[in-house]
């Protein structure tokens, strides 16, 4: 009973993340790579993404705070973040990175700062969503159900 309800909740929540554009097809690819022999694959990759992103966001903050802003370095960081968000299917983060890179090209510090804020916001949003999703998965498995991933 409880498992069924949890499964339904998971299913609906999962669907909403795609409908609202937080996640794209690539996340489904990740799910497909998870199986009985690799039950923690999605958690593992998502955790790496969190670590990676937080590091890059900090680096970006510092880089934009410099007296002489090194735009090439900033571009390199954003490129990395764009890559990792793309690899896990965090669509809105990826799109925010693309916009960010355009302003890097223009060497516009104010705009870059706004972009950084935007990227950070999108990251925090998707982080919360993914943590919720993974928690739901955990609950289902703990209640004896099969992982819906």
């Amino acid at each position: 009973m409880e498992v069924d309800q949890l499964q339904r909740t998971f299913h609906d929540y999962h669907a909403s993340l795609f409908n609202e554009g937080f996640l794209d097809e690539q996340f489904v690819q990740l799910q497909q790579l998870q199986d009985e022999s690799n039950p923690g694959f999605v958690v593992e990759v998502v955790s790496l993404f969190f670590e990676d992103s937080e590091r890059l966001l900090n680096d970006l903050s510092k880089a934009l705070d410099q007296e002489n802003v090194d735009f090439r370095k900033i571009d390199a960081h954003v490129h990395q973040l764009k890559g990792s968000s793309s690899s896990i299917g965090a669509q809105r983060v990826r799109n925010a990175c693309i916009a960010f890179r355009n302003f890097c090209d223009e060497r516009n510090i104010e705009a870059c700062l706004k972009c950084l804020q935007q990227v950070r916001q999108e990251y925090l949003l998707v982080k919360t969503k993914l943590e919720t999703l993974l928690r739901l998965e955990q609950q289902i498995v703990a209640a004896g159900g099969a992982s819906p991933m």
Binding site: E25, Q26, Q29, L33, E44, F49, H79, G83, S84, S86
Partner: protein
């Protein structure tokens, strides 16, 4: 799986400076039953492949290629590498391998998050077998086997002139490891779709070109190589 002998399994060396992407490609390759080694740079890749600068310069004056096993500790059947890496790019790695008498026969595939036509052309002209846009998917990895098998075939006696044939557009077919001759002949494949469908694993329905933001160019079989 069910492969009896260890040497009948293909070994892929994956090169990428991103940890997430290394995890991904490793999982994709292992899901396809390949043995995988991952490294985070081109120089580490060359090291793993047993590339030695001096030896290569000595050998380059010879026309015949030296046995590939001389320098390698472990046999590598394919190298798949990211393009954008600090230090040595994937293109640099590709170039070094093609200039090396011991490594030039190892097929190389390039991956990139950026769809830059001139970059793609450059890589293919330098001898890359395929160019995948990231994020790489299972459907991409399914395209690797013919390239690996072509190299393995060269080391065996074979009636068919397999060495001179290039794999055609094979996206729709899953390749059965034992059907070496049919793999490389498009006509036979087209006549026998059902037997290859039996071997399809975990592959989604065809996704090429379905999603609007994934305008991925198809470059299968269009390598411009002089053998």
């Amino acid at each position: 799986m069910g492969l009896a002998a260890a040497d009948s399994q293909f070994h892929v060396l994956a090169v990428d400076d991103s940890l997430i992407d290394r995890k991904l490609i490793e999982r994709l390759l292992k899901t396809s039953s390949y043995q995988v080694t991952t490294v985070d740079s081109g120089s580490k890749a060359l090291e793993f492949l047993g590339w030695h600068d001096e030896d290569e310069r000595n050998n380059s004056s010879e026309e015949t290629s030296v046995s590939p096993k001389n320098h390698q500790e472990v046999e590598v059947n394919l190298v798949i590498t990211d393009y954008c890496m600090p230090g040595m790019t994937g293109y640099d790695l590709l170039k070094k391998m093609k200039e090396s008498s011991s490594l030039r026969n190892i097929p190389v595939v390039i991956m990139s998050s950026e769809n830059v036509p001139s970059r793609i052309t450059r890589c293919l002209e330098e001898g890359a077998e395929e160019f995948f846009l990231k994020p790489v998917r299972l459907s991409d990895v399914n395209k690797l086997k013919p390239h690996m098998m072509r190299t393995k075939c060269c080391n065996k006696d074979d009636d068919d002139d397999i060495q001179n044939q290039k794999p055609e557009n094979l996206e729709k077919q899953e390749i059965n490891g034992e059907e070496i001759q049919t793999v490389l002949q498009l006509q036979q494949q087209q006549q026998q779709p059902s037997q290859t469908n039996n071997n399809t694993n975990k592959r989604k329905s065809m996704d090429e070109g379905l999603s609007p933001d994934r305008t991925r160019p198809r470059y299968n079989g269009l390598t411009v190589m002089s053998n």
